[in-house]
C-alpha cells in the first residue's frame, strides 16, 4: 500500500520543528545559559518522543522497522543522533556549548527528511536476523559518538575565530582535544562492532562476509580514517585544531557513508530482492 500522506509524517514534521527550535536556541545563545540549557534538554527530549512515535506508527503500519529506504534511515538516525547527543549533553555539562555545532548537524538530515518521499518499503527476508539489529544499533551509536566528538571539535575550531561567546567558557583546547578523541576512540569500538555484525549478516544472507560493495568499502575507509587519525595524533602530536579538523573530515566521511552511498549506488547491499 502506498500512502501519499502517511500518518507518521505529522509526527516527523513536529519532531523536526522541535529540533529546529532547539537548534535556534543553541545557535543564537538565547535566553540566558541556565534557562537555555533546561529548555534545550526539554526540547531534545520532546523531539525524541515525537520521532519515537513517528517510527512506532510507521513500524506498526508497514510491519517492520526503519531499515530500508532513505526516509526510514533518516528518521531513525534523527532519533539515534538526538538520543546520543542528549545523553552527552545531560551527563557532561562541560560540553553543552558544543550544541551550537552539533544541533545544526542533527537538523540537516531532519530538513532532508522533509524532502524525501515517505514511500512504504519491503523488508527482504535476509533482513530477518538479529545480526541486522546489532549491525544497525552499533552503527548508530558509532555515528552518535562521532557527532559528540564533532561538536567538541567544532568548538575548538570556531573559537579560534572567537565569534561564538559560549565556547569561551569551555575547557582549554588541549583538554577538549583529548575529550573529543576519547569519544572517537569509543566510536571506533562501535564502528568495529558494526563491521563485524555486518560481515556475519552478509555471510548468512548472501554467502560472503565481504565483497567490497560501495557501502562496505566506504565503511571500511571510514574505519581506516579513524585508525589513521589516531596514529597521526600520537605520531606527530598534532595541535588541537588539526585534530579537530581530522574529526570533521571523519564525520563527513561517516555521514556520506551512512546517508549518501547506500542511496546513490545502484550496487546491491540491501539484499537480493
Amino acid at each position: 500500500m502506498i500512502l501519499s500522506n502517511p500518518p507518521e509524517l505529522a509526527w516527523i514534521w513536529a519532531g523536526v520543528a522541535v529540533y529546529a527550535v532547539a537548534t535556534l536556541l543553541a545557535v543564537t545563545g538565547w535566553p540566558k545559559v541556565s534557562v537555555r540549557e533546561r529548555l534545550l534538554l526539554g526540547l531534545l527530549g520532546l523531539g525524541l518522543v515525537l520521532f519515537a512515535v513517528a517510527i512506532g506508527v510507521r513500524w506498526e503500519r508497514i510491519g517492520h522497522g526503519p531499515f530500508i529506504n532513505l526516509f526510514e534511515v533518516l528518521a531513525s538516525n534523527l532519533f539515534s543522533l538526538g538520543l546520543v547527543f542528549s545523553l552527552a549533553y545531560w551527563l557532561l555539562p562541560v560540553i553543552r556549548p558544543s550544541a551550537t555545532v552539533a544541533l545544526p548537524v542533527i537538523l540537516l538530515p531532519g530538513l532532508w527528511l522533509l524532502a524525501v518521499n515517505p514511500t512504504d518499503s519491503h523488508l527482504p527476508p535476509t533482513y530477518d536476523t538479529p545480526w541486522l539489529w546489532v549491525h544497525i544499533m552499533t552503527g548508530k551509536i558509532f555515528l552518535g559518538f562521532c557527532l559528540v566528538a564533532l561538536g567538541i571539535a567544532g568548538a575548538i575550531l570556531l573559537r579560534r575565530a572567537d565569534f561564538v561567546r559560549s565556547f569561551r567558557v569551555m575547557p582549554n583546547d588541549k583538554t577538549l582535544d583529548q575529550m573529543a578523541w576519547r569519544f572517537m576512540g569509543v566510536a571506533l569500538i562501535f564502528q568495529s562492532l558494526m563491521l563485524i555484525a555486518g560481515a556475519v549478516w552478509a555471510q548468512d544472507a548472501w554467502g560472503r562476509y565481504w565483497s567490497w560493495d560501495p557501502i562496505e568499502a566506504w565503511a571500511f575507509l571510514t574505519w581506516l580514517a579513524v585508525a589513521a587519525a589516531q596514529h597521526l595524533r600520537t605520531t606527530f602530536r598534532v595541535p588541537p585544531w588539526v585534530g579537530a579538523t581530522m574529526i570533521l573530515g571523519i564525520f563527513v566521511l561517516a555521514f556520506l557513508t551512512f546517508f549518501g552511498v547506500p542511496f546513490i549506488s545502484m550496487a546491491p547491499h540491501k539484499g537480493a530482492i
Binding site: 545559559v33 562541560v94 576519547r182 554467502g207
Partner: protein, 333 residues
Amino acid sequence: MTSTVRLLASTRLTLLGIALLALGALLSYNKPEAPLWLLVAPLSWLAVNLTGALFVNPRLRRDGGLLVFHLALLGMILLVGAGRLMRYDGRVEISEGSMFSANEAEALRQGPWHPFRLDQVHFAQGPFSIEYANGLNRGITRSHVFVPGSDGQRIAAVIGDSTPLLLQGYRFYTTSNKGYAPLITWTPAGGRPASGTLNMPSYPQYEWMQESHWTPPGGSELKFKLHLKTGYSPNSDWVLDGKSEQTSLTIISGNSHFDLKPGDTATLPNGSLRFDELRSWMGYSIYYDPTLPWLFVVAVTGVAGLGWYYWRNPAKQQFAAAAIPSNTRSISL
C-alpha cells in the same frame, strides 16, 4: 638488528600502509576483477609493521587492551589470508528429486590450498517455495533438502535466505536463481531410455522466455518451449512452489512441432521423447572457508581489547581535569 626492527615498526610507516590500503580499497571496490595485490601488498606491509611494533613499542606491550587489539588485527590479516588460500566459491543448479553432484558444481574461485571434499557432499533436492509480495518483492524462501543420515535414514532440512546447508564445511545458500525443469525421457530407436531434466531459465525473472534446447545423441537439436499457468502476478502476493495448473511442453524439431502434456510422447526421427512431469530446480551458491568462526572470535576479541583499553584508561581524570565553568551547572531532572 633492533634499529632495523624499529624502522620497520615506525608509526610513520603504519600511516603509509593505511594510506596504501585505503587506496587499494578505493581501486578494488565494486571491481571483482581488480588485482588482489592492491590489497595484499598493503596488508602484508601492515602485518610486518605491526609485528615489528609488537617487539619494539613498549606502549603496545605495556597496555594489555592495546596489545590484544593489535594482536587481533594481526591475527585477522593472517586468517583472511589463510581463508583466501583455502576457500572455495562456486555455484550449482539442482533439480527437484536429484542428488547433488560435485561434477555439476561450477567453481568460480578456488584457493590453491583448498582441500577438495565437495565429492563427499551428499544431499537430495526436494521441493521449494518462495513467497512474493506485491511488486515481485521476494519474500521467504523454503528449500527442502534431504541429507543421508548415518543410519541410512534421510534427514529432512529446510534451508533458505539466512539459513545455509552446512555439509563437510561447505555452505550451500539458496539464490534468486531458480525455476522450472521438465523431466523428459529419451528413448533412441532400438536403445534404452534415459531420463533427465531440462533446466529452464530463472523464474519469474524470465517468465516470458521459458525456452531451452537439447541435442539427443546422434540426432539434431531440439528446441523446447514450456507453457505454464503458475498464478504468477507482478501486482499481487503470490507463491512460487514449482507447480503449475496447466503445463505443456512444445518441442520443435526442424519443421515439426509437438505440444506435449505431462505423460505425452513425441516420435522423432531417431527415437521418441516423453514429457514425464514438471519439476523445479534451485540454484545454490557454495562457499567454503574454514577460518570464518576463528575470524569472528579474533575480531570480537580485538574489539574487547580496545574496549578494555578505554575502560582501564577512564575518562574520569580527563573529564575532571576539564574545569567546569560556573555557568554550566548540571541540570537536575
